[in-house]
Symmetry: C2
Subunit: 209 residues, 2 copies
Amino acid sequence: MQRDEQSVFEARKMPVQARSAVTVEAIAEATIQVLLSHGMDRLTTTRVAERAGVSVGTLYQYYPNKQALLFAVLETHMGRVAQMVEDVCLAHRHEALDVMVKGVVEAFVDAKMERTDISMALYQIAAEVDGAMLGARMRRRLQKALETMLATAPGVTVEPMKFAVEMVISTMSGATRGVLEAGASPAAVKKLREHLVVMCREYLVAVTC
Amino acid sequence: MQRDEQSVFEARKMPVQARSAVTVEAIAEATIQVLLSHGMDRLTTTRVAERAGVSVGTLYQYYPNKQALLFAVLETHMGRVAQMVEDVCLAHRHEALDVMVKGVVEAFVDAKMERTDISMALYQIAAEVDGAMLGARMRRRLQKALETMLATAPGVTVEPMKFAVEMVISTMSGATRGVLEAGASPAAVKKLREHLVVMCREYLVAVTC
DNA sequence: ACCTGAACACCGTTCAAGT
DNA sequence: ACCTGAACACCGTTCAAGT
């Protein structure tokens, strides 16, 4: 594969020895730590390298630029959320609509709220890098998982299904983000779980023929 | 007033002569233009000043730093949206719940979609500066306006009202953002208007006692 | 195969000098 | 009262030299 074919955001090279795999992981972990302790505007490639115990040059051996580093961190965590929702979608095929909605919404909220500090920090990253692109990719994954599951719901035909699923995904993201930006107190997270289930269920029932 | 009491994000000085008022406006406008044509990462204070037809020094006479400049631009546009929703909330007092919801949702969507290019560009700004802070302020304005309006709805008591309104605001933001990030085609905007009304109405009806 | 860190380019910000 | 733009500090990124 030629260098030019690589996305500018992809890792520059694959670690082929054990120590470099450790280095890559250490750099990714250090990025989160620096983000949490210093904030986005004081997140410096030199500082990240220092925290990871390597030199700047080493960082640039695995991540072509700062954006790629942030992108990778964001991708890891968004991927984790998508994975958890996908698992629930598979597990809830052929069940009743309200059971599906409850399962998906709670899986989404729980995944996002597992580490509220990281989730909040990631919103800072999302605009620095092209968060829209990653968000779109994640949305496509959730979209497919939800559509596939909903197609197996007994006696349910939502029209237009595609848009309704987009609405549900955007709504889950928006409401969760709202609670995170408001501080994500345990009480608020609990209410979010309940109310978001009601909102999505009532909506889907209303647009169901 | 002493310098130290000023927020770091507020304008450094008020324009007292006509030409400087023009300068301030030109800089703000140039910021949007550079953002739209070059993107966030190529938005440079020097480039903005150049576009506005002044020197960098002049820019720093009115905005203490780059963040303050971006903050001001974001604030203007968020304020416009908040204002339009507030107006609708005042106009719809004492009407039926579903009329209120329709009015507010459509006002919000229309305000955000009036200039989709600017709205999309602003998401880039929102993380560069402390978008969470401004978002919180805006949410408080909408919160108050909506609560005041809903309290006048005949025969409606939502419990807990405060959280339900937070949910509605986050949902409107999230769903609108989703459509914007998906490209905001006229067809999608139209469907968003309709579906968002359904979602918010059904939700509020469900949590109403 | 992997790591180092001085060196370079570029950008945010200032301030002495101008009108 | 307002504007200019060279100068400075700092950060992203590179690359010749090391192990």
